[in-house]
Amino acid sequence: MTTATLPATDERATNRRPFRISQPLTYIALTAAALLMVLPFTWMILGSFKDNSEIIANPAAWLPEQWTLSNYADLVGGLNFSNAFVNSFVVAVACVIGNLAFSSMAGYALAKIDFAGRRLLFGLVLGMLMIPPIATFVPLFVLVTNMGLSNTLYGLILPYLVTPLGVFLMRQFIGEIPDALLEAAQIDGASQWRIFWQIVLPLCRPPLATLAILTFLAQWNNFLWPLVVAQTEDKYTLPVALALYSIGQNGTNYALLMAGAALVVLPILVLFLLLQRQFIQGVASTGIK
């Protein structure tokens, strides 16, 4: 009886799928849309291998007539993009380390230790989640300048060593670890630090990975703060170097600009392709770019 009814309901379910659009049509529409989505990236990458006389040709050809690496060579050589690349990387990695370390510790305290001020602290974090960087950059600049850190990498890093998102994520996850697990360790005489280090942290790999990805992404793409703090070319991050170059007097050298854009975009695209599940889930669950 049961074996006979089960397949029947299954079939009915697939037959009465909520929206029956014809499948070939769906595929055609999705493929067209996907091509549109990747078109600007394709155009960027192909353009980065053209020379500047070819890139302003009208109508422009898809493929470079003469493939050239000179745009990349110019960027890395004359225009300090290699320096900006290193700065971007150092800032992003430092912020990842800071966020992982400090957020997991604070998240543990907020989730698992009952103490005075706990609610107040978490309320503060929640309140800050919605505040955009543009709301704080002016006083932050005054502060960092007075600390003697304007136009330094420390100045770029310090304000982003911790983010509201980090504590939010970690507290959420650690809160779901069963209390019994931690109490058992406590009864065995383990200190809070040992419980955190040997029990909680090893369980926290998934949210730590998410947080690492989101922090790296946010810092690699960060623009306003580096624009404000970095004042000389040797302190620029990639987006700052690219943006200022693109609105400067050489802003019409599109072959060079496409190569610059590719240098900013490609590392993230490669990471994204490798870790797409974590990227999409991380961003979707927090909405933070």
């Binding site: 009915r12 697939t14 799928r17 929206f19 659009i21 499948q23 999705l30 493929t31 996907a34 549109l36 989505m37 600007p40 960027m44 302003i56 957020s103 510790m105 604070a106 305290a109 230790i113 103490f115 005075a116 001020g117 602290l121 503060l124 800050m128 919605m130 543009i134 709301a135 704080t136 002016v138 006083p139 932050l140 600049f141 005054v142 502060l143 060593l161 911790v162 504590v167 809070q192 992404l217 793409n221 623009f223 404000v228 990639l238 987006p239 690219l242 943006a243 693109s246 609105i247 496409m258 610059g260 900013v264 975009v265 993230i268 994204f272 797409q276 999409i280 979707a284 909405g287 770019k289």
Partner: protein, 309 residues
Amino acid sequence: MSVPELKSVGGSRTARPAHGRRRRSLIAWAFAAPYFLLFVVFGAGPVIASLGFSVTDIGVRDVRSPFGVNFVGLSNFAELFGDEQFRRAILNTLYFVAVGIPLTMGLGLVAAIALNSGINRLKGVFRVSFFAPFVTSIIAIAVVWRYLYQDDGFINGVLARIGIAGPDWLNDPHWAMPALIVMAVWRNIGLPMVIFLAGLQGIPRDVYEAAAVDGSRGFTTFWRITLPLLRPTTLVVAVLLSIGYLQFFEEPFVMTGGGPLDSTISIGYYAYEQFGFGEYGMAAAASYVLVAFIVLLSLLQFRIFRNRG
């Protein structure tokens, strides 16, 4: 059995000496201290300071002595709203939000439905290509699109081939903003898509079966069943997108410089410009107007989507 056990645990807790509790608080604060020290100094502090700045005449000359400035009340805000350029910036920002968000959400929903319509092959490829622009630098994207939007650029080349003479997008006061909106929709569509996709997959199948038994089909099912059940998801998407869209700054910075004729200047861009002029009080005031909009729009969306529930 379990009741006395529970009691004894509770008992041992309340019986714990007061110094044990203080010790626990101390340990907790030690764990939280590095984070909250940085958080207060570089996060929460500046939010308050920014509000303070907005009611003073602080400027670039006061960087070294930020406490020696004059209180000017609300005159920065009066000056802001008296400035035609700032009023234009508010209108532009609202235009960007009001047109950009529904478009992004609508197309994101369509993409999610298409991906959820029972296709299996290439699903991952589609998802990745729709989502990719969202993870890439807005500056790089703006640079690439500025090139696409050139008067004799790629887009007008394609339009010319089908017999349309495209405008000089970024130098035309009527077309510059729509051009930026199209780019923003392209860049952000992946976010509503993945969130809606999760929402769609969370709708139990028997709901659809019941509707089908009652004779509901196709569009009716979508309108009466799917959309109402997606309301919480829609709220999340709307709030996230509006926080992002209201901050609209990098696009005009790279692509138009706020022009032509102020047609793409945004509140964020205006605030940054004031900072560049050394008018820190004005910049802080403008940025607080933006925060007010973010809070207002989020509250509004909560009301709209809650009330209909």
